[in-house]
Symmetry: C2
Subunit: 380 residues, 2 copies
């Protein structure tokens, strides 16, 4: 199998799974239980939180473990909006955010909030100037992703953070689900108040992740209850999941430079090969994130190409998995003002540090063969 | 180890963990991905949902997989309140609910909802007559647990369901986290619209569970995004977790009668033994759920007894894990109007079908020894 859909999800690292199993089996007590076994588990939870905090360069209390990226994004957006609505009801995001951000904002509109959806340029990039112009006295939240999940476009997070920071009433949230391990963001340097990360996109497990949030930030929790996670996210802690997440972070951040260089090399080789294929248009920006390459083959339904490649045990995607059941048009490419032929024929290759040059060359050959095969079928 | 804190959490069944690991490793694709691997995983998800639906006696579309009981309760309460607030803003619950219910209601009060917290009798039971009297034209939700997590009190769910059913604008939610497998509730027969269940209380995994909801029920999702789970709970599906949950359900429901009888026998033996100990008061109702026995030893701090038992590798709890970090008084026993001496000295034994008569007798001996040991220390 050649798996090139790593932005949809990744295969858990074998050691991640081992850690999960061990903790779930041996340290199963509820960390809130006052008996000795509960205290042992609570200590392990604290250690796990400390390790996560170290990898993220934040304080342990700033790590709120969640069930994943969608929860982190919803918790940040709804939590800030509901908690601080007395200060103002204006929210800002972009037109190219992940559905878990866009739909959370639409939901807040239905509750009476006013949302500005910023446009992007032809490469999917937000212009910081547009953020400046959209900021109002009643703006309480700006939410921009670090890396676009369809194109790999890197957003100017630091510049936007600087702008939001000028408005003491406004919080800055970054959906860092696609960026984690691929580009660096910093809560402090980039003036980020809340930052969503997810485990299953980095060889961790589904149902794991975290919302990193500065200690002084108050929000209306999505999950009220037993006071876990600094009273910001109730529910019996999924310690095995969090241990697994931290293990995945270790593999992600160890030799990080080497892994990023490897990804950059893979992407460059793929870029060069795709450029040579007639009828293929590359949609990703040249200086995008190292793991995503989006391209269109106008005239070919992406689903058909994907199925043809599936038969060769090669897996790539159209758009993002989370919006793949929607009609054909990519909302992201539409926002980029790319012509319709390209917005309806986009394919995404998303790589992991575990992929090899050889796999990518096999994919390129298979893609060429699939295009030719389909051209024959279509009688061209 | 003698683990008698099964209402806080349980040890995952070894086969549950095996299934989890296998699915996480082999079927890791995103079920929303359109390629063949994604479709395979989607089929497995559908099978898993079908199996869950069968165990619960509902339609597959009525199973919304969640990250656990706290999420299910918050999703039901906030989701119904926010979605149907134009019909009315009155909500009803009881004074003895789990913190994930009570705190969710308090949060809705902060958003302008009006909440009635029904009293209970000396055994923690809600009087259906009180529900009748509390119902108003603007009541949109009634939420009552099936089994109380501290006392094991079984609530008159069917009678309450019948009352709520007379009010077409009102929904009935049941927190069935402690009742699952121990007592039967039925969405149809008991007129339940939404029902919360959790995996880790029944030898499944932390971070798993479901909200069962009748197909026609609309709610404001906690998690907006990619449209997963019938657009009621977005986020990449935690398929390994759900497979593990269904596996746990199989072990729970297979030979269910035998398991319940076993639990009832354990509880009766324990009841008889505890009754004989001087200074011990049993707080649980005689006809409570088969797995919970709550008692007080006035004059002894429960934490001290728990620690003494911990030294003998025996684990029981005070109150519920989710409120165990709060001050000493049990809110549940307080609502029962039990005298203060007993509300501050309550202990809970919660059993699983995996516990044995021998373990319980060892616990009773250890409890007696601990009480004597402490009496000596305290110079009585």
């Amino acid at each position: 199998m050649i798996y090139l859909d790593n932005s949809a999800t990744t295969q858990p690292h074998p050691e991640v799974l081992e850690s999960y199993k061990k903790v779930a089996d041996k340290f199963f007590a509820n960390p809130s239980s006052v008996h000795r076994f509960g205290s042992e588990v609570e200590r392990l939870l604290q250690q796990t939180r400390n390790q996560a905090a170290e990898w993220f360069g934040v304080q342990p209390k700033e790590v709120i473990f969640t069930s994943g990226g969608t929860e982190g994004n919803n918790m940040a957006i709804k939590g800030i909006a509901l908690m601080h609505q007395s200060r103002g009801k204006h929210l800002i995001t972009s037109q190219v955010e992940h559905p878990s951000v866009i739909e959370a904002f639409r939901a807040m509109e239905s509750l009476g909030f006013d949302v500005t959806y910023l446009p992007v340029d032809s490469e999917g990039k937000v212009n910081p100037q547009d953020v400046s112009e959209a900021m109002r006295e009643d703006t309480i939240l700006v939410s921009i992703m670090s890396v676009n999940n369809e194109l790999g476009t890197i957003q100017p997070i630091q510049e936007i953070g600087g702008i939001v920071n000028e408005y003491p009433k406004a919080f800055f949230h970054v959906d860092h689900v696609q960026g984690l391990g691929k580009i660096d963001v910093s809560l402090n340097k980039d003036h980020i108040d809340l930052c969503t990360v997810s485990g299953h996109k980095v060889h961790g497990l589904k149902g794991t992740g975290a919302l990193l949030m500065k200690q002084e930030v108050l929000l209306f929790p999505l999950l009220h209850g037993g006071g876990q996670e600094q009273e910001k996210r109730a529910g019996t802690e999924n310690l095995p999941g969090s241990v697994a997440f931290v293990k995945a972070l270790r593999f992600l951040f160890e030799d990080q430079e080497k892994k990023r260089n490897h990804l950059n090399q893979l992407r460059e080789s793929l870029w060069n090969e795709l450029q040579e294929i007639e009828g293929v248009f590359i949609n990703s920006p040249k200086n995008g994130a190292p793991h995503i390459l989006n391209f269109s083959v106008p005239g070919f339904k992406p689903e058909v190409l994907i199925h043809t490649l599936s038969e060769r045990d090669i897996y790539i995607s159209t758009k993002s998995a989370c919006s793949s059941k929607q009609p054909d048009v990519s909302a992201v490419l539409k926002a980029c003002n790319v012509d319709r032929e390209r917005t309806t024929s986009a394919l995404r290759v998303s790589m992991s540090y575990t992929n090899t040059e050889e796999e990518l060359m096999t994919f390129v050959q298979a893609l060429k063969a699939s295009i030719e095969q389909l051209q024959v079928t279509m009688g061209r």
